[in-house]
Amino acid sequence: MSLDQATVARIAHLARIRVAPDEAEALQKDLQDILAFVEQLGEVNTDDVPPMTSVTPQALRWRTDKVTDGKKADQVLANAPEQASGFYAVPRVVE
């Protein structure tokens, strides 16, 4: 399949990665090569095959619904690039 520049730009936006104009062409080629490689899977008939949903056969465990950890706001915020009044701070999102 061929991946056009508009699609590359759309994926980049969905992935929240700014792609500079001079990077776009090389990236387009790399992504196209990788997709061409993985498309080999089309050769295999998988109509009656269930998708793998768990690597080892196990069910998720249940536990009591109670708080086991917390009150660590300082630790949670310790690596924040910017914080204010005990919250993460980000650029304004509401005008």
Partner: protein, 495 residues
Amino acid sequence: MTELNHLTISEALDGLAKGDFTSAELTRANLLAMEEARALNAFVTETPERAMSMAMASDDRRRAGEARPLDGIPIAVKDLYCTEGIRTMAGSHILEGFTPTYESTVTANLWRDGAVLLGKTNLDEFAMGSSNTTSYFGEVHNPWTLAEEPDARLVPGGSSGGSAACVAARIATASTGTDTGGSIRQPASFCGIVGMKPTYGRCSRWGIVAFASSLDQAGPMTRSVRDAALMLTSMAGFDPKDSTSVDRTVPDYAAALTGDIRGLKIGVPKEYRVDKMPPEIEILWQQGVEWMKAAGAEIVDVSLPHTKYALPAYYIVAPAEASSNLARYDGVRYGLRVPGNSLIEMYENTRAEGFGQEVKRRVMIGTYVLSAGYYDAYYLKAQKLRTLIARDFEAAYEKCDLLLTPTAPSTAFKVGDKQDDPIAMYLNDVFTVPANLAGLPGISVPAGLGADGAPLGLQLVGQAFEEETLFRAAGVLEEAAGFTATPALMVGEGA
């Protein structure tokens, strides 16, 4: 006497128990080796003060008669494991300065058992790579060199390249790695050491920076099979903080090394031959078959018909999971932030500057295959192939107990090779990826040298949670191979 930094874990434990030397002496020898071999760039963070204080605490415990299973053994930790109070960056600029306020379960288990932290090792960015050339901290060099071109530098393999190089160069007695598609076993093969990936669920993933959660497993990298068994006994175990961690008793893996594989059935999968594979690998593989046969194993020809689809399925599943796992790096909660005029622009700028090329490629592939309209064609298809690959193994294990294969399709290549062709780089993992897709344990054992003078490993793949059988056979393979060659850039002279 052998230089202390050359000892294996089991030799060092013997010496410590007999009082021949202290952990402080052993640790100092390793720290000096670390300084001497900085040119390899195997470490991103050295922790000499922490190492010496842990070593002295270990010596105190031993004097008090309270020595633990790995007491006083200096190890290196891949910088993908969160270590409390010690910067952890996963080889990425986007985690600039990140200092965890918690400890990964696996490293906590190692400290509980007395191990000593030497430092954090270099790796491919977010463990994405097979040559340790994608790290923000620069490439790692393999301590092995080419017979014909001793000045050329080789890659150590990846992604656990620093962990492999530091064990091969005798800087660390052992190290931890992680394996998503071969990231422990392939560098172990390239560096002439033992690398083991346990069954999915054996080791807790809690506190390890996530790449592809349904494939990632922690494991040991060592200079002997016995050492790998000792390390895994400490690393493994149920952890309620990882919902995929398995609640099963951890055996004493070293006790499984009986040296007796009589009657064990070893399968040889015919599909593990690829185009352009050097004949020396085929020859070594055949040699491995002969070794196992001579030790009393029965050799069985098996077929894993979907092998050729493992790599393409992996390059859908792993990037898909990575695109989701790496969504958290957005400049808000930790690491790098690059300003923008809006929140979205800040995300985009941060991720553009923080991620390297290979990570960007994989996040974008993952985003694409999960996007509306493409999910069924790519992701669902890959998960179906994964079922078929797991069924191939199940069918093979009706006829045999273990599989024997080469670990990688080549010896270590030169730094700079395969850099402009992602697919050529991906092919490094052609023999290791299937075990990850099926969640099975695998081990690479150094088995010989290629014509170029660089090491080659053979891989054993076992059945789920049958690590003891895997170690038992690996011990026999190791003994038969008698691999004693040492790398040119090793620290010290050797025995």
